[in-house]
């Protein structure tokens, strides 16, 4: 196990050390004080535990690595993640998990606006609430929300599945509530288990695309 103290080491030194590590190693990062771009671009199966709040773009582009943040995360957490797991024990700011292709992002607290915007296959589990415009143009993967959702959830959504346990303030264009079938309950159950969130799948509702924006509609020509 290697401990990296950001009072002594620069962000560049931290990222170089993590990126250059061989698989199976464990790292602890201390004294983060809201610094940006911590633990980004990792490609190996390593464990990173970050103690303290982090700034912008933590865990961006993550592949294979498992990153745990004991604190809150600033904007752009786990942007464009490809695989692996990122867990935040506190809250996450705007656009957590944006454009991410794979892996699991767990936010134990609340996520702010635009959570999962344009997500392309990752799974996100939020223990608390999500802010407005979440899952905007979300393409695939799952967004699980154990609390409430803000305004315009799932606006212009493609094929991401959204599961919400609490209230949804409003749905965005082309996002509708859908039937919760057995296959959805099974998938949701697995995600809740992986995220260690102790809720029954029966408490959730499912939302997704009405697929009315997929094709050009001649009756809406005046809207363009």
């Amino acid at each position: 196990m290697t401990t990296i103290d950001l009072k002594k080491n620069t962000i560049r030194e931290l990222n170089e050390k993590l990126q250059g590590s061989s698989p199976g190693k464990k790292f602890i990062v201390n004294n983060t004080v809201g610094k940006h771009a911590l633990s980004v671009g990792l490609t190996k199966e390593i464990d990173v535990e970050i103690n303290g709040h982090v700034g912008y773009y933590c865990a961006g582009m993550n592949q294979e690595a498992s990153i745990k943040i004991n604190g809150n995360a600033g904007p752009g957490l786990a942007e464009n993640m490809m695989s692996g797991e990122v867990r935040v024990t506190g809250n996450a700011s705007q656009y957590a998990g944006a454009t991410a292709h794979g892996g699991l992002l767990i936010i134990e607290g609340d996520a702010s606006s635009r959570c999962g915007i344009s997500m392309k296959g990752m799974n996100i589990v939020v223990g608390g609430n999500i802010g407005h415009m979440s899952a905007f143009m979300a393409q695939s993967g799952n967004l699980v929300v154990c609390g409430d959702a803000g305004d315009a959830m799932g606006d212009s959504i493609y094929e991401t599945k959204i599961f919400v346990r609490g209230k949804v303030k409003s749905l965005g264009t082309d996002c509708v509530e859908k039937e919760m079938k057995k296959e959805h309950k099974d998938e949701l159950g697995k995600l809740l288990e992986m995220a260690k969130m102790n809720y029954s799948v029966d408490e959730f509702r499912r939302y997704g695309s009405a697929r009315k924006l997929y094709n050009f509609d001649i009756d809406q020509v005046d809207d363009y």
Binding site: G34, K35, G52, H53, G55, Q94, S112, S113, G131, H132
Partner: protein, 297 residues
């Protein structure tokens, strides 16, 4: 991009350290705004009269001559110069002093007016600003600071924040307004004066106008949501505290934190992390269009 910091002291024992606490916060926001910086400090109330901060454009302005002129014509409680600014605590009303300055010292511009507020600002790196104005030694009840990265108008001291929005009121802004030209013309027609082509000054002018129309601060900010088009996180300094509001889209960042000793806001947590006890503070992100305010009880 710009950086905002605000610090409100709850434990009066820390008032003597206001500047020492807020200077590292401002310094931490340097990358967000390296071209100019400014600070509004609330301290030493002059209730029986007014306190005015004036700014001179000339580097070699003759402050001694100005001080002589002020003390001959007005009743002076306190006068001090800090760089190219001077703070005048006077026995007269704000209107009298502003009229007198306009008639006799038109080359000076007023950066703040009220009983507690003082505003200092300048172009250049925030760390130079902190050094030159000796921000670390300042005492007071609360302060708002700004680091500017100009995106829509020139880099001058007058374009820098905070902007005065009325007596003991000031505004700092992170964001950009898209309807500021038209709104400036509209406000000019109702008598609001502007010194620059800066968009944030229009927001300040707008709030001044709403307040002069009888709105309280919350009402003025709610009207601003309707009439200002663009992105903004605003922090507004008041005599007793400060308020924070983000636009309906909430693109521009803001983070707030509170302990038993202080309440703080900033564009980023790393500025708040410089404060004592930040690691155990209650921390949250302000919701769009919600007004958050602290007041001295």
């Amino acid at each position: 991009m710009c950086g905002i910091v605000g610090l409100f002291i709850k434990n009066s024992k820390l008032e003597s350290q206001l500047g020492a606490l807020v200077a590292p916060m401002l310094s931490e926001m340097t990358e967000r705004g390296p071209d100019s910086a400014g600070m509004a400090v609330y301290r030493d109330p002059n209730e029986r009269g007014c306190k005015i901060t004036v700014l001179a454009q000339q580097v070699d302005f003759d402050w001694a001559n100005f001080e002589k002129s002020v003390s001959t014509n007005l009743s002076v409680n306190k006068f001090f110069v800090n760089q190219n600014h001077a703070v005048l605590s006077l026995g007269s009303s704000i209107n009298e002093v502003e009229d007198w300055l306009q008639s006799n010292w038109a080359e000076l511009s007023v950066t703040s007016a009220g009983s507690n507020i003082e505003i200092f600002k300048g172009k250049g790196n925030p760390s130079d600003f902190i050094e030159q104005f000796d921000i670390k030694s300042m005492t007071g009840t609360h302060a708002l600071g700004h680091t500017r990265m100009a995106t829509e108008s020139a880099i001058t001291t007058e374009h820098s924040h905070p902007f005065s929005t009325g007596q003991d009121l000031c505004l700092v802004h992170n964001g950009s307004l898209s309807n500021h030209n038209r709104l400036r013309e509209k406000l000019r027609r109702v008598g609001v004066q502007f010194k620059t082509d800066n968009d944030s000054e229009v927001a300040a002018g707008y709030l001044s106008w709403r307040l002069s129309e009888g709105d309280d601060l919350d009402e003025a900010l709610n009207h601003a949501i309707e009439d200002l088009d663009g992105f903004y996180t605003f922090a507004i300094g008041t005599k007793d505290g400060f308020a924070v509001m983000r636009d309906p889209i909430g693109c521009k960042p803001a983070i707030m934190a509170e302990t038993d000793d202080w309440a703080a806001m900033s564009s980023e947590y790393r500025a708040i992390a410089t404060l004592p006890g930040a690691e155990n503070a209650r921390i949250w992100e302000p919701e769009p269009t919600q007004i958050y305010s602290w007041k001295r009880s």
